[in-house]
């Protein structure tokens, strides 16, 4: 427990207030419901609490020691030691939103640098200070597009090859609105240009993923052009790690770029906290959701510094007319990404991205060489690919697990008729040795 009060302190303070007892401070709480008994575990000392948590974590440990080929929106990457060392500085993690710039320049400048990295990677002109995660950032991107159309265009076309959690999140966000989420019935394997036929005057935006959910890399130039001709926007959901080697979304003339920043120095942590990225072109900056940091000067010495800016978009000023309801964001995760990108730098990011690419292509070609396994991905891909197995994917995964390997993602869970399909993700943390082990295990279990 962390409250420092001694009995003497309490007495002194109660006397100063003029209260006879602590209970007296709570007399306003209706008596029949005051001071309920809580059925909770006993008070643990720090040592006991640590042991209890240690015990729980060991129930997962065999799992985390296994070679692991899961991706599907969360990726295992090496995190340089300096990232966590800096994140653990209390000056960073025990501060809050930098409302007071005079005593928050550390956070503010770090966010400004984060925004710069996002802008450089995506080719956009403006980035927010972070959003909750990739899925919610995608929902906000659609909401932005809706707002930019002044709520006149009442539908979004979502690529059927968008991460299913992202589609579900967008669906949830828009159920209350008079707004349609389309694209569901299209064939997830088709070329994204087939989306062009669905675009019309009522389309606020088209949402595609880059690389897409299945890891494929497509050229979205034609799609972007068609969207713009109809007066709608191109929203691209990115894996920013892939941008270490792939063209920036601006080259396809994207209007809003969002994505999951977790690959940048953020641990898997069973799904969160992660990092929602959200960026756009200059002309839409006033529609951007969330906090934005801008450069300025102090009024006295004219020294350069940073502040939260354009806050007239936000809930604390605009209330029911705000561009979003977001308040707390993922500040510390944005800091992690900022430190990560600084540590790996320009050359390093390309190296990691290419390692993922090379390892994944090696794995794909080895698996494709097995009897009865078919590489379904027939398109340029980054670090994920889909394989059709001779048996239900679930059985294959169970058999792999018995051999101490965590297999791929069973995409049949989300897509009909793909019960035999597995999607493998390969990063710099799946060395050749693990890949070879996977391939020989697959050979045995099939």
């Amino acid at each position: 427990m962390f409250h420092p009060h001694t009995d003497t302190d309490r007495e002194k303070m109660l006397a100063a207030i003029g209260a006879k007892s602590l209970e007296e401070l709570f007399e306003i709480v209706p008596e029949d419901i005051r001071f309920p008994d809580l059925d909770l575990p006993k008070t643990h000392s720090e040592m006991e609490a640590y042991n209890a948590l240690y015990g729980l974590h060991t129930k997962n440990v065999p799992g985390i020691r296994m070679p692991n080929f899961l991706g599907a929106g969360a990726y295992r990457h090496y995190v340089p030691a300096a990232v966590d060392a800096i994140l653990r500085r209390g000056e960073f993690f025990t501060a809050y939103t930098p409302y007071q710039p005079e005593i928050s320049q550390g956070t503010l400048q770090a966010i400004f640098e984060y925004q710069s990295h996002v802008i450089n990677l995506t080719g956009m002109d403006a980035s927010n200070a972070s959003h909750y995660d990739g899925a919610t950032a995608a929902a906000e991107a659609v909401n932005m597009a809706y707002g930019i159309s002044r709520k006149k265009k009442k539908k979004a076309i979502i690529s059927p090859a968008l991460h299913p959690h992202y589609r579900e999140t967008i669906d949830t966000y828009f159920k209350p609105a008079d707004f349609d989420i389309g694209g569901e019935d299209l064939d997830p394997w088709s070329n994204p240009d087939t989306l062009i036929d669905s675009i019309d005057e009522d389309t606020a935006c088209v949402v595609v993923q880059y690389p897409d959910f299945f890891g494929r890399v497509f050229d979205y130039t034609a799609l972007g052009k068609a969207a713009h001709e109809a007066g709608s926007l191109l929203v691209m959901v990115v894996n920013p790690m892939a941008l270490g080697m792939l063209k920036a979304p601006s080259e396809f003339d994207a209007d809003i770029v969002c994505g999951e920043g977790q690959p940048f120095g953020i641990g898997l942590s069973y799904g969160g906290p992660y990092l929602g990225m959200l960026a756009t072109k200059k002309k839409h900056v006033r529609s951007l959701a969330g906090r934005i940091v801008g450069e300025t000067e102090d009024l006295v010495e004219r020294k350069r510094g940073y502040v939260l800016t354009l806050s007239a978009r936000e809930q604390h000023i605009r209330r029911e007319r705000a561009s979003s309801n977001i308040c707390s964001n993922q500040g510390l995760m944005a800091l992690a990404a900022t430190i990560y990108l600084t540590m790996v730098g320009k050359e390093g990011l390309r190296e990691v991205a290419e390692l993922c690419y090379q390892n994944a292509h090696y794995a794909a070609s080895q698996i494709a060489g097995l009897d009865n396994f078919e590489l379904v991905t027939d398109q340029t891909f980054f670090n994920e690919f889909v394989v059709k197995c001779p048996k239900p994917a679930e059985e294959i995964n169970k058999a792999l697990l018995e051999k101490g390997i965590i297999g791929g993602y069973e995409i049949g869970k989300d897509f009909d008729g793909m019960e035999n399909h597995l999607m493998f993700a390969v990063t710099e943390l799946n060395p050749k040795e693990d890949i070879d082990a996977l391939v020989s295990a697959l050979k045995e279990v099939a």
């Binding site: 729980l56 997962n60 000056e91 450089n120 969160g272 604390h316 600084t342 390692l355 993602y409």
Partner: protein, 491 residues
Amino acid sequence: MTEQKTIYEKSSPGRRAVRFPKPEVPLTALPNEFLRKDLVLPEVDELEAVRHFTNLSQLNHGVDTGFYPLGSCTMKYNPRINEETARLSGFAKSHPLQPSETVQGNLKLMYLLQKYLAEISGFSQVTLQPAAGAHGELTGVMIIRKYLYKKGETQRNKILIPDSAHGTNPATSAMNNFKVVEIKSDARGNIDLEALRAECDDTLAGLMLTNPNTLGMFEENVQEVCKIVHDAGGLVYGDGANMNALLGIAKPAEFGIDILHYNLHKTFSTPHGGGGPGSGPVGVVDFLVDYLPGPLVEIVEEDEEGNPFYDLVTPKHSIGRMKAFHGQFGMMVRAYTYILMHGAKGLREVSEMAVLNANYLMHKLKDTYKIPYERTCMHEFVIEGRWEDAPDIHALDISKRMMDFGIHPPTTYFPLIVKEALMVEPTETENLETLDYFVEVMLKIAKEAHEEPEILHAAPLTTPIRRMDEVKAAKDLVLCCVWPEDAIRAE
């Protein structure tokens, strides 16, 4: 302080920090048509990088460096043990899509946290998925909507929000396509019952209630307020930002609240991280459990020896998924650790000491600063940063001057119903010496306000940087160290 260079200004072509091994696999040709030509990112050595961020951190005020009485945000001490437990490899390195049999530790922790949070507030079930308080609000208001629509009451299109409420409440309701109607507060800082009754017709969907409210005061008619809304067929959403006053003191479900979000980053000691991550679990009463966003963790079977198997389950009428995966798991580990360390008795003491600290400060300040509503406060209170005999002094000036004494200013200009509001929340983790120091500083500032107002207008004087030109920031809109085109041109 000399001006801080940005990391881009420290960059030098060819310089490296972390390196990666060469591929060990046979190489595949790169996809030329998709390769990027250039990438602008910093190039620095490791020491430069570490020094850069260390120096930046030193420009920050955090709970670790000094008193941080930021109202409504509960800036309590962030226990270091939480940082250790959340980094235990079994938790920190597990993938969200791993087979359930390999993550029973995670699932058990989530199961128990759901249970503990439900117990603390009197709810039947809790979803851990929402990413922050505002995201929890969005979840809760979606549940209200889906529940009413399922009953066929689609005419219910308005949400009532007290005028003291946080901005996320109306913003959330609007995102749900509800009409927002503001309800005024009465002379004692409670919801005005007449104004409330007047809006309780058959278009009412619900009320968003914060208790204790943002004035730091317990809603005196809370059960009556909930009853009025229920009688009109609406639901009551509770903004649980202020749960730090209620642990073991009262269960919000017993006020009549149907849905409530918790802020693990406030009440349950997970760090604020310079803006986040938060975590905003949502609890509901019995008849709303089926509407929660999926997945929840449940015991799906037990083996012969009675050992439970935990798994992820989606409720029957779920509003759907609110984000990818299962929520801010790392924050759950921290909050769980915190609850274990306190137990029932310890949590009640947390709220008791938070309320004691706030009342102590309020009493020490009340003769110098105007208190808009003089009642026993809960875990925070609001004072006015203005005096008739010091007309040029504003809450802003007082805030800025506090920085010169190593104190983070309170929340300013919120709630909106108090003029020149300064909202003070000391939290339970501050000791008497710190509280007394705060009082001494506040009295000194009040004196300066009357005798040497120019000091306050010029403040802060000792911070790394002085008051900022916010107008220039919004006008010039420089949002990036080097614009990509400029960088490419420069090369």
